[in-house]
Symmetry: C2
Subunit: 168 residues, 2 copies
């Protein structure tokens, strides 16, 4: 499982840094950067993928370029009986939810929501509010990014199954 000891070393770290920087870099390029042959790089990358250290490779796309101009964080307050499992189901019903997690503090969950515009966001919010367990939401609209190059400012959500087309 995930219980095994350190599944990677400093060389692997350098390889991951190179792939985070450019997921389409060739193994030969990475090898030149870290001082290994392309074959050795491939084997290490394959192993990192098998161990689920690297979970995939994705393109970062500017949501604004795709017309997703509105973004917000939404605190969700649930009925006291709502378990995280039910919450996860609810979250999956709305493709506009880019990320969702349970958090400490008064709220039961924090959602990262993307919408094309304010009207669309309002529609999403109404849809979420009508879900069974949801009692209340508090929204914080994102005004501007202070780290414009982070993936969460720019990336669309990759899909484990079913394609990312629903958000493009």
């Amino acid at each position: 499982m995930t219980s095994k000891a350190a599944p990677f070393d400093d060389l692997d770290r350098k390889i991951m840094a190179a792939l985070i920087d450019n997921a389409r870099a060739s193994f030969a390029e990475i090898g030149a950067a870290v001082g290994l042959s392309s074959t050795a790089i491939k084997r290490r990358v394959d192993r990192l993928r098998e161990n689920n250290v690297i979970t995939g490779f994705t393109a970062t796309v500017r949501p604004a370029a795709l017309g997703w101009l509105t973004e917000a964080y939404v605190e969700v307050y649930c009925d006291s009986a709502a378990p995280p499992r039910r919450l996860a189901e609810v979250v999956r019903n709305h493709p506009e939810i880019a990320a969702a997690m349970t958090v400490t503090g008064g709220a039961d969950a924090l959602l990262h929501v993307r919408a094309t515009d304010v009207e669309h966001f309002e529609e999403v919010l109404e849809r979420i509010r009508t879900e069974p367990f949801i009692r209340k939401t508090i929204s914080y609209m994102v005004l501007s990014h202070l780290l414009p190059d982070s993936p969460e400012a720019g990336a669309s959500r990759p899909s484990t199954k079913g394609g990312a087309a629903n958000r493009l």
Copy 2:
């Protein structure tokens, strides 16, 4: 600038979906999926990159696998005179800040912070609190992810310059 009309069509959307799903897919594979030759795919991808619709390709790495076990969202309250530009500088001083944005509501900014453990997080928080403009912070620790495969649950921050090694 960004004022030009629709720089992409449905075919481009399908190509982007394919690349978001697997950034290392070959142009031939993508071509087979969307019904175009590999040459045509390459030209379209090159154009999407030039137009900054696609901003890059990155590996998604499970932070937990790298020992980044703690995560929180932090509301930041500033002295009234603090402009976003100064805030952005502050944010760049702390590599543990994975994302940062100005938001509506009482707080001036919302930070997404990753740390190796709670002690590390406390250290980061103290470091942020001693920055010039910062008056107060409120932290929401992330307990569990409801969408485990979203990039912001898994991705490390790609770097425009300087490499991602500081977070590995």
